[in-house]
Amino acid sequence: MITAERKPIDEIIEYIRPFQKILLVGCNECVTVCSAGGRKEVGILSSMLQMAFLKQGKSIQILEHTLERQCDPEYVEELVSMIDGVDAVLSMACGCGVQELARRYRNKPVFPAVNTKFMGASERQGVWAERCAGCGDCLLGITAGICPIARCSKQLMNGPCGGSTGGKCEISPDVDCAWALIWERLKALNLTDRYEEIIPAKDWRNGRGAGPRKIVREDLAE
């Protein structure tokens, strides 16, 4: 899922300071799972903002609403009845949700309330770790299900590098060396022959190298 973290409250306050009536919109998908922008976080941020502004001598009005998905036009349409009555919109969705609101409601200022981070998985309750970099050409089939693009600090295609010590990356003793993990897992799976194959240089045009990407499914597209 896409992970995010709430922005510092002072930054959010500066975005909405000129406005009186704010629509605070959450998203029920990824940012709910990573506890950054779901219904609960909308309530918490709303309460914080009300109090922070009151402290500064200003009373603002905040409407709270959480959409099923903020990156889908169908759900974003739900806001039509609310949008005219507000001066600005504050979104707690990932960058996709913020941009979808901005695209749909062109005459309304839309501000992000979270920093979108990475595609991650839950390591345990309350801990999320980067697992996929969306490189567009998945290598997991030859790297024992462990991604060297997202998890190797150098994004090495054939590792490990000389900075790997005791299974840990040189950047921090808390970070596993992705290539050490790959090797251990290949051994456990009896697939070490895959490690012998030299993975050629990656075609980064499948990733961000060729600019913004788009998927078009002709069978589904209208």
Binding site: P8, I9, D10, K40, G43, I44, S47, M48, Q50, M51, A52, L54, K55, G57, K58, S59
Partner: protein, 145 residues
Amino acid sequence: MTTQEPFEPVIIAFCCHYCAYTAADMAGTRRLCYPANVSIIRVPCSGKVDAIHILKAFEKGADGVYVAGCLDGDCHFKNGNHRASRRVAYVQKLLDDIGIGAERLAMFKMSAGMGERFAEVAKEFTETIRALGPTPIRSLHRDAA
């Protein structure tokens, strides 16, 4: 607001059913005095208290809030009190962020038999908040209205 009015803090105490609330009950049974400033909200477990419950208490004018749960290792629901402690620490940061002050929120742990401890905590926390003075939110709400 007349400055002559003595300040009587409004304090909300979220007390877990199995320990802190029972301790409050014990304090009552033993006729122990504790400040009338403390309003108790009974919750099934301190782990049930969410960040939004605490923030709403402040937003609606509480000068101080505390969560009271079971002693370490004694939670009826195993680890609700640990979760509550972590959540309180999280909300303390939020309160600092918006300039309300982390010291207006606290977590206490006590067993069902600790009626005296309940009364003591209520007194001490009330005095802490009394020393801090009123939260800016209550008067500002009134001014903004």
